[in-house]
Every structure is written in C-alpha cells, then in structure tokens.
Symmetry: C2
C-alpha cells in the first residue's frame, strides 16, 4: 500500500522535474480543471492530499543525522534546536568563485527590474512577514537560531509566554492596542537611546533582547521612532509590510476575542486569550496554505488544509528549521523597485523621500491606513524570483550576508541537493537555463555544472511563466513548508475540534480562506478592500 502510494507520488513529482513547460493544450485547460476541482469538496481534498504528499515525500523524513551543531552526529546535534538544522552534511566544495562575484550575480541592473507573471507586491511582504517568524538564524552566532520551530504567530504574541504577557491587555482575552484616528493599532514601543542604553516603554521592558532590537531602532529615522509599535518580534517595524500584517492580525485577534466573550460570558481573560490564540494560529495556517501557497502553485491550484492530513504520514516528525530553508527563502528579487505611480509611488528606500519609503515607515501606514496600502500592493507586480533581479539597496544589506552564510555553512552543490530531493542532477548549464546572459556568467565562474553552488543554482533555474520558481526551489520550499506547517499540534486529530477553538472559533476557521476576508471583516469599508497575492492591476 505504502509502496504503491509512493510510486504514484513519484509519478506526480516526475512531471515536476522538468524545467520544460507543460504542453500548450494542458496549460490552456489546467486553470479550468483546477477551478472545477476547487468547487468539488471531495475531489479538492483528494487532490490537495496528493499535491501535498508529492512534496512531503520528496526526501526522507526527519530526523536528520546532522544539524549545524557539528559535522558529525552528536546528541546535542540531534536534540538541541537552538542549533539550526541542515538537510545535507557539510561539504568543502572546491573551485568556487569569489564571494563578491557570486553576490554580483544577484544585482538587478539599474531600472531593469524583471517583473513576475502575476504575483503581487503584497505577496512579497507576506512572505517576509510570515517566514521571519520561524527562520530566525542568529546574526551573531553562526549555526544558532532563536526560532520556536513552529508557526505560532509570534509576530504578534512574542517568542515566549513571558513576552506574550507583556503584549496582552489582561482584559477579555485581548491584546493591548490603541486607536489612532479611530483605527486600531498596537501600542507604541517608545524606544529611546539614553546614554548608550536602549530603553523602551516600561510596559514592554524585556519584550525584546536589547542587542536584537538595537539595530532596528538605530536604523529607524530618529524623529519617527515614537511611532514604532510594540509587537512580537524585534524587526516588526522594519517594513510597512510587517506593520500592516501585524496590525491586521492584532485587529483580528481582538475581534475574535470579543466574539468569544459575547458567546462565553463566564470565560475569564486567560481562557478567552488562549482560545483566541488557538484560532488565530490556525487562521494563519489556512491563509498560508489556501491563499499564499495556493498562489505559488501553478494556476492557483485549489489547495486545502486537509484535516489531520499529517496523521498517518511518515513525514509527521518534530519540526526543525534547516539552514537551507532559511537561505532559500531569501526572495529578495521579489521586491519591486517601486509600488504604484505618481503621487502614490513608493520606493524601497530613497533617502531623499523618506515619506515614501517601504522601510521604517509606520507614519505612512498610519496616515494612509491598512486598506489603502494593501490595495496598492495588490495592484503592483512583484519582481520575478531569479538572478540579476535583487534591488541594489538589498545587495549589501541582504544578499552579501546571505552568500557569506551559505559559504560558512559549507552547503553541498546544487546537483547534490537535486539528487537528495528526488530530482535528476543536471549535466550542463544549458539544462539549467535558457537565459544566455545568466548562462554566460555562470560558465565564467564555475568550471562545470557539478561545481555550481546550491544557493546560486536555485535562483538560476529556468521555470515557465505559470510557475514562481524553478523545480529544486519549489521542491525544497514545499517540503519544508508542508512538513512543518501541517504538523502543527493544533491540526492534530485529538486537538482540532470545538473544545480547542470553541464553536464560534471553529466556524471562523471553517469560513476563512483568504487574507482579503480577514482584512475586510476588520475594515470600516469592507466592500473597498482589495488584498490579493495574485496581482491584478485592474483589481478593485
């Protein structure tokens, strides 16, 4: 039975190996087929299960013999999750180009952004906000991380029970919040540099490690620091995407808590809070699978969080975020040069127009409001994931450190990872990409395809327009995402029920499938909300 199933899954996956596009007649029909599937609950469920398992079985299940703790198998390396995990053992690759040359492979030529097919800038910010919560490699201690290794919505709840405490209002299960011009936001953190010390509002002392928070405060325009919010993670104010999504989820938390309170008037603050949190984590999981990953899948495949899908599966093993998952998710090329046009035009970072920056700009969020910005982000296409498409601003602050980390981790080659994740190794750069400029540069730096570094290869792979990334990146991101999101304890057979979420919470979970819904029900003009990971420039 298991063997038969594995054979079937292999067949599905084999169709995925090729970077060649599907034949035209299929491409034309698949959107219709998927739409049909999406309307048939049982078919949709079966198709989702097959889709998810086809990736979850791409490689062997955890535990891995190695982590970043050491180059051979040790007990701390098998058990201490403060060390980052790793899929393949370290290898000293030879014949590597200089780091600087590798970094340059990512640089987007000035004013030559390559746009994605139909991915919105909202997707870009959601990806960052979502993954920053569990991919928490330490900046200072190589091989270490501060991740909880779970999707736990620490973006709004903080990294530990003690930190959560500081963010709670202590009333009605709510999170602390304030109204600014009638709109709900987190409280202000009020960071100040006194002497050489960083101090924050007394209520939020200890919410972040000072050394972790400090760089984000230093980078924030001094006259705007009073607008930084107290949220779960230290970089929660660093882009308008973080601020928008933290605010949306905070509003939803308080909305759900209020609903529970009405329905269960004898529940105290603690029970209201904890039950709301249970609901919120599952809402996030649903949005991730049914809205976000759905968009990553070709033709917006109608994915579903199949109840208890992990129950009988060999991939249902303790989570452990790997260094590869952390590095492959650095989709800097998704960041567009600008969002919108004319007076509304926003840029990533322009020192001359700080009011229009996407980074460190809570003022923009407060003045324009969530709905307005989300709609603008939904109408702008993101950059296309790939080489030669990382914005200049991110080359130094993001791409160079990533390449440095990849090298320090002694990752195995691109072809070694293809083999490990069930794909045939490539035999030439021609198989990798038809982009002659990319091929020329790779051939200049690497003796042959077997020397190609993994981190470079996954961004160099060709892929057709209806995909968002190449076969190896797709497989690896899907493997780690599915096997670590769908193993969440809240989705387990004994837990996913009315006792855990209350009837009211269960209904909300059942009815929620998109970020659009969540923003709309917290908006004063729900009909005007437009939030989409699939970019439609004419979207409402």
């Amino acid at each position: 039975m298991f063997v038969l199933r594995m054979f079937l899954l292999r067949q599905v996956r084999k169709s995925d190996q090729r970077s060649k596009p599907l034949p035209g007649y299929l491409i034309r029909r698949l959107p219709g087929i998927f739409e049909f599937l999406g309307r048939k609950p049982r078919l949709r469920r079966a198709a989702s299960r097959l889709f998810i398992n086809s990736f979850a079985y791409a490689t062997s299940p955890r535990p891995r013999p190695f982590s970043m703790a050491s180059d051979y198998t040790t007990w701390p390396g098998l058990t201490d999750r403060r060390f980052t995990g790793r899929h393949l053992p370290p290898v000293n690759q030879r014949h590597l180009p200089a780091e600087e040359d590798v970094v340059n492979l990512y640089r987007r030529p000035k004013d030559k952004e390559t746009k994605s097919t139909d991915t919105s800038a909202l997707f870009t910010f959601f990806a960052q906000w979502f993954t920053d919560s569990f991919l928490r490699s330490s900046r200072h201690e190589p091989g270490r991380n501060s991740s909880n290794h779970e999707i736990d919505l620490c973006q709004i709840y903080g990294l530990s029970a003690a930190k959560t405490e500081k963010l709670r209002s202590g009333q009605g299960g709510r999170l602390k919040s304030q109204l600014i011009d009638g709109e709900e936001y987190p409280m202000f953190l009020e960071p100040k540099i006194v002497g050489d010390e960083l101090v924050v509002n007394e209520d939020f002392k200890g919410l972040h490690r000072e050394s972790s928070l400090r760089p984000f405060v230093d980078a924030y325009p001094e006259d705007q620091r009073r607008l930084m919010f107290a949220v779960g993670l230290e970089y929660g104010n660093s882009t308008i995407g973080h601020t928008i999504l933290n605010t949306v989820f905070l509003r939803e938390h308080n909305r759900v808590a209020d609903l529970l309170k009405v329905n269960y008037p004898d529940w105290h603050d603690e029970r209201l809070f904890q039950t709301t949190r249970n609901v919120m984590i599952v809402l996030l999981l649903k949005l991730v699978v049914e809205d976000y990953i759905k968009h990553i899948a070709p033709f917006d495949f109608p994915l579903e969080v199949v109840p208890f899908i992990a129950e009988a599966e060999r991939w249902n093993r303790s989570n452990w975020m790997s260094i590869e998952f952390d590095l492959l998710y650095r989709w800097h090329s998704l960041v567009p040069d600008h969002i919108g046009e004319g007076a509304d035009r926003l840029t990533l970072y322009d020192p001359d127009k700080p009011d229009k920056n996407l980074v460190n700009n809570n003022k923009l969020v407060i003045s324009r409001g969530i709905e307005n910005l989300v709609a603008q982000m939904s109408r702008e296409r993101a950059g296309r994931i790939g080489l030669l498409n990382t914005p200049e601003f991110l080359i130094g602050v993001a791409e160079a450190p990533t390449v440095r980390r990849m090298r320090a981790a002694c990752l195995d080659s691109f072809n070694a990872y293809r083999k490990a994740f069930g794909l045939k190794p490539l035999t030439s750069f021609e198989q990798l990409t038809t982009n002659t400029e990319v091929r020329r540069r790779l051939e200049q730096h690497y003796r042959d395809i077997d020397d190609l570094e993994w981190y470079v290869g996954i961004f160099a792979e060709d892929y057709p327009d209806y995909r968002m990334m190449g076969p190896l990146m797709t497989t690896m991101v899907a493997y780690d995402a599915f096997t670590q999101a769908l193993t969440n304890p809240l989705l387990a057979r004994n837990v996913f029920n009315k006792n855990t979420f209350a009837e009211v919470g269960m209904d909300i979970i059942t009815d929620t499938h998109s970020l659009q819904q969540m923003i709309a029900r917290n908006s004063k003009s729900p009909g005007d909300v437009y939030a989409s990971f699939r970019c439609d420039p004419g979207g409402k």
Copy 2:
C-alpha cells in the same frame, strides 16, 4: 492495510484484557515457544514488532490536547514541555476517601513482605535509576518538570550541554573518573554546608541547582558526604542502586571511548566523546528493551529493539512525559525489606545500622565493589507490585506525596483510564481482585468500582504469577515506554548507522543484550559477574 493491522493488534491486546490467567497448557508451553522464537532472528523480529505495536496502539497517538499547563487547550499547553503532559483531561472525582486512608492502602504490614515471583532486587534499583532520569516532576512547582523527555543517559551526562562539560575529562572523549583501590568511580562532589550555603568542588559548580541538590546532601550522613560522587543528576547518590549503575555506565563510557581512540587515533576529544555518548544511549535502550522490559513481559518474551520500528508508525510523535507515566512508575512495593542474609544483610534504612543501609551509602559500594553487590541484588527477590506492600520507610517519604500529587492532578477514574487504553471498564470489585483483604478495604473506601481512583486501581488489579503487574498498569507503562524509547532520534533510519556510532560502536551495539554483559566487560573477574533482573537465588 492499516485497518487490518489494527484489527490484528486488537486481537492480541484482547487476550491481555483479562486478569484471568492463561490456560495451563499454554502456560506450560509459552516459555518453550518464546525460547524458540528467540533463536530465530526473523521470527523474533516479527514477534517483537507485533508485541510492541500491540501496546503502542493501545490509545491514540500524541499530541494530547491537554497538559498540566491548564484545564483547556492552550498553545503553551501544546508546546511547552516544562509543563508535564497528561493523557486524560482533569476531572473532579467525587466520593473520595481521605488521603490518609488511601496512603494506608499501600502500607506493608510489619515483616509481611509479599515477594514477587521471580523479579530480582537488581530490577528494583534499575527501574528507579532508569526512570528517575526522565520522570522529573518538580517537587516545588506543581505541573512542572525538569525532564528532557528523552532517554539521554543524563544520569551520567547531566541535563544540559553545559553540565555535560563539567563531567568530561577533556581527554580522549572520557568522563572524569578516579581510581579507588584500583576500581574506577566518578569524581567526588565534595558538598559542604558553609554558613547556610551549599558549596561543592569548584569543578562541579553549577552541575546541579543548589535547591535541588540541597535535600540530598542534607539527608546524607554528614561524615560520609565526602564520598558523594559528581554525577549527572542531583539524586545520583541517594541509593546504592544509583551509585552502582552510574558507576557501571561511567566505566562503560570510558571503555568505549578508549576503544574508539585506539581505532580512530586522529579523532579529537570532542568527536570521541560524542560518538561514545551516541553508543551509550543506544546501549541503554537495548538493555531497557532486551533485558529489563523483556523481564516485565510474561515468560521473558524475547523482545528486540527492532531497527527503525517507529519509522512507519503513527505513534512516532514527539515525546512528552505524562503525569500518569510519572505516577504509575512509583513501584515502591518492589523494594524488599532486606537484601541478603547474615553479615551481608542490607536493609533499606535502619538508623542503627547505617553501614548496611541501601540509601545514602556510597561507602558500602566502594568497600564491597560493584560486582559483589550486584550479585547479591540478583539473588534477592524484589517485593511484589501491589497494594499493602510498600515498606514503612517509604510510606511517609514516597507514598504520601504520590497520593497527594495524584489528587492534585485531578486524574480521572480507574475505569476511565481502562476505557482510554482499550480495556473494558470493570463492573465490580470482584473483577478487580480476588484478594479479599484488598477488596474489603476498597469497598470500605469507595462507593463502587466507578469511583475507584486510578492510582489505587492500577496497584489493586489482580495478575497471574507470570506477570509483574495488572492489565491497565501493563498497558499504560508499555504504551509510554515503547512510544518514547523507540522514537529516540538515534534509532531513526537516517541516524542509526556506522557514521553515527563508528564501526567499533556499531559492533558493540549489535553484541550487547544484557546488563550482565556490560558489567562483566568492565570487571577484573568477568567470570564471577552475576547480574540478572530475573531472580535466581542459586544464581552464580
């Protein structure tokens, strides 16, 4: 397929429900059948797999919706293992007798020890030493524990990497040790009470939390404290069993490290240590399954650590030690009134003969030596697990606190647990036990069988002579033991191989099946070693 297998397993388990003994013709034949099985590797493996799964599927797999964190489902309750787990939600049982009356149900009448059929006192001490390493409920914070939730041999390695460091010699992968009269022992801890402070040898500062160590030092005879050893856990000197087994495993560690060093001369201390630890943890798992649990099983069923047995199983889920596992393992009745006769006669605790005490007596271990004491323990029968058989000395210090904890945890009834673990609830005290004295006293305290408390019921259940405990206790201990020992990461498909243990280590693992072997190969007169969990008074 899964359904069919579950049906088969149910059939096996049904035969286990009854407290009635098997028919005589089977009883006479089973030992022979099992011995035959034991000699046929493939049959033995298949039989072991069936045996293990029959218990591992007795109830639904983890995760549980509740832990001791709260009475309803919360995120910390699902993820924070500093809270103790629990199998069933809390219940306020009514009509309960006074705690004191319950405690009295356990008291062994003076000089009326009930002996087990064929279990040795060595088994008693191994059980304590083994379980004290992962059942670490906090004495001071109800619902909390300090367990790593893994079988990690923290008895000799300590509870964290920083503590392990203090116990390592830093040379050749060895643990710190000393020779006393030519025999290897751990180093001395040298605890001293200075003013009101507890100080230990500088080398071992921070090895234990002072508040955890203090009661054990206070209880130790003051003139003997200089003989307390520096070992992994704070109670590592509290019985001669702890001292003996810590010493045996320390000697084996250093023996294996030396062997690895000879075979891999270019390995540094760290690699030698870590690889030795990998080997040692698996050796412990092998002894536990193939020697210790084998003896618990009827007629010493030839159990085997089946390679990768957990791989495809739904019970392969993250470990979480439950309050029930912790409480059911309090086999105080196993402790015999005395061990041996005449001049060698040892008693649990006699203030008039401190030299002959089983508690706080490293002097005895050092003077008599490991082999001598182990042989004496192997020749003495343990007490029989059940009510009315806990030694007087343990009533106040062990049984009363256990009953208090059971009550504080609001555990569900005996019958509720029978149902949860796949056994039919009982309808009368007659079904529970044929012991008229026990029945009379239970009927006096409990209105009817549905009121019977779980902790009392599991010790009151009848069982035939070829078993060691009743059906519910057997099922629950086997469920938690198998699903938490065999999920050890060192046994996983990607890990259990020569890379992890080195060829030398792999051979040692393959060849080791008993504590007898481990003691013998560290002994100067291996031929004289007699170590057995099955008591044979005439044993060599």
